[in-house]
């Protein structure tokens, strides 16, 4: 696409909405003046699957399978939040061993999710070699998850009252071996992120969010922590085994895309240590308890620190085997307002990096339209076009 398209005074750039991976695929209408973003209007819902309504029509056991499928990347975060909610409604508790196994899977999931994201951000800045290295290394974790659960994604480890599969010594030593590999790699990534000009040029100072705004816009997860807001559900509102395990909440003060990258790379190291500690303390005993299928009237709020931040479920039971209401709010929706704030006033060329910066699984936002307000003409842009535009822009500036 030529620069001629950008010559109107006010242009609307429509990004999205196609994005099948998350619960909240999004479209952004970005109004630009020259190369500066003036206003951002988000629109979600394109692949809204009506899971909350579906849950009201299904039993608690059936809903476990729906919860597993809310997100393809952090399915364990959603089932953990779900089983925790249902167990609370039932007033039962999963056995300690089950809680530790849930913790191990949760952190392995965080590692693979963060690796996936590091790769995507590398791709966005045009550093595809890094992207391929990271995604190659991520396979170590995917293999471990498959070894433990039988599945690369949708591990189906959680069930109401515990977990479905145990960890034996052989699996534990495989996990520990895999973690050694990833630890070494993650340390290398951290060095590389801090030194590599391609990354620094495209991320330092880009997409700034102050700590005041991170709180004001209710940002969650690594996005908030990269702006110096020390919040992590694992620490502040502990669940499963996090109360018994020592770990640090990684925060940074820069509040830009660079710090978001560093936070996730450093969180991988924290997650490795959490898995190690959980495995070393793994309690002996059952991995699940039998539960009833009919739940008396009650309600509960369940929270989990998913790889992308605070995940919250609200459940109300009504004395039957189906919930009266089941509400889910995934982290990306919580970060949407903060994202709009970050996108306002920046250069169009920085849009892909900032969008990807909140880790919204945005890799598939694949079609955009440029609307020239004066001519009322529409032209389609793919994300590749925007990426190309961004790279060309950065070569010139």
């Amino acid at each position: 696409m030529g620069m001629g398209l950008m010559s109107g005074s006010m242009i609307k750039v429509v990004i999205g909405p196609q994005h099948p991976a998350l619960k909240e695929p999004e479209r952004f209408i970005i109004e630009v003046e020259g190369e500066q973003v003036v206003q951002v209007t988000p629109r979600i819902g394109y692949v809204h699957r009506g899971i909350e309504k579906a849950m009201e029509n299904r039993t608690y056991i059936q809903n476990l399978y729906l919860a597993e499928r809310i997100c393809g990347i952090c399915s364990h975060a959603h089932t953990t939040c779900y089983v925790q909610a249902v167990e609370d409604l039932l007033s039962v508790e999963a056995p300690p061993r089950a809680k530790y196994i849930r913790t191990v899977i949760a952190e392995l999931e965080r590692i693979h999710s963060h690796l996936l994201w590091l790769g995507i951000l590398a791709h966005e800045v045009g550093f595809d070699t890094f992207f391929m290295y990271v995604w190659r290394d991520r396979e170590v974790i995917m293999d471990l998850l498959e070894e433990i659960s039988g599945n690369r994604v949708n591990y189906a480890m959680n069930t109401i009252g515990g977990v479905r599969r145990d960890l034996d010594q052989e699996k534990i030593s495989k996990i520990l071996k895999g973690l050694e590999v990833i630890e070494e790699k993650a340390k290398k990534y951290i060095q590389m992120i801090q030194k590599e000009p391609t990354i620094l040029k495209r991320t330092v100072g880009v997409g700034y969010l102050s700590s005041i705004d991170a709180v004001r816009y209710n940002a969650v997860g690594p996005l908030a922590r990269a702006s110096g807001v020390k919040r992590d559900v694992r620490k502040d509102d502990p669940y499963i085994a996090y109360d018994d395990i020592s770990f640090n909440i990684v925060t940074r003060d820069e509040g830009d895309c660079f710090s978001r990258m560093m936070i996730r790379a450093e969180e991988i190291l924290e997650s490795i240590n959490i898995v190690r500690e959980a495995l070393s303390k793994l309690p002996v005993g059952d991995i699940s308890v039998k539960t009833r299928l009919v739940i008396p009237p009650s309600e509960t709020v369940s929270r989990v620190e998913a790889p992308r931040g605070e995940l919250i479920h609200y459940a109300r039971s009504n004395g039957t085997d189906k919930p009266e209401r089941y509400k889910i709010r995934a982290p990306t929706l919580a970060n949407l307002k903060a994202l709009c704030k970050m996108l306002t006033g920046i250069y169009l060329a920085d849009v892909p990096v900032i969008l990807a910066g909140i880790d919204p699984c945005f890799s598939c936002m694949d079609r955009m339209q440029i609307i020239d307000c004066e001519k009322k003409e529409k032209q389609s842009w793919t994300l590749d076009d925007l990426r190309r535009y961004a790279r060309e822009w950065y070569q010139k500036h």
Binding site: H48, K53, R216, N218, R303, E310, I312, Y314, K337
Partner: protein, 166 residues
């Protein structure tokens, strides 16, 4: 401030208009307030009690009324689920998007799925449902059946389903 103190402060401030408060377990507080004071109550929670985070708003169909539950968090730890309700025949309530910025999106979601009108909302438009979704079909209301929703969905896409059937 612990869970008990939060409830006490709310009761001291709003008296009879606060009811059915309970601490279900550590860090989980539930409280009901009159719809007329919801803005005032949330403003107080945010301004005076440190509840700077709105996690989400749950809308819930309970017979003649629609219940609204505002899940707010203090120090990322104590979650207060503040409930109120509006009549289903005239479901409207003041928007809190000036108190919590993110409420703008959560209120649009409740508007979309349960048909609650949030007054003074900066842009109360569809967030999730298609633009041409019928005004009177609110998917998360109990009277909206799966069949109704399915048949409405199959109408979308300008006959795209017919094309696939050929």
């Amino acid at each position: 401030m612990n869970e008990d103190e939060i409830i006490t402060s709310l009761k001291n401030r709003f008296g009879e208009r606060v009811h059915n408060s309970k601490i279900a377990k550590p860090r989980r507080v539930y409280v009901e307030v009159d719809a007329s004071i919801i803005r005032e109550a949330l403003s107080y929670m945010r301004g005076s009690l440190g509840f700077d985070h709105l996690s989400t708003i749950t809308g819930l169909d309970s017979e003649e009324r629609i219940e609204l539950i505002y899940h707010i968090v203090c120090g990322n730890s104590i979650v207060v689920s503040m409930k109120t309700n509006v009549l289903k025949t005239n479901p409207k309530i003041g928007s809190i998007s000036d108190i919590y910025v993110t409420a703008e999106l959560y209120e649009r979601e409740v508007y979309d799925l349960l048909g609650v009108r949030f007054e003074e909302h900066p842009n109360l438009s569809r967030l999730i449902l298609p633009e041409d979704w019928p005004e009177n079909l609110h998917p998360l209301r109990k009277e909206a059946t799966l069949e109704q929703i399915k048949s409405r969905l199959s109408m979308n896409g300008d006959g795209i389903n017919e094309r696939f059937n050929d």
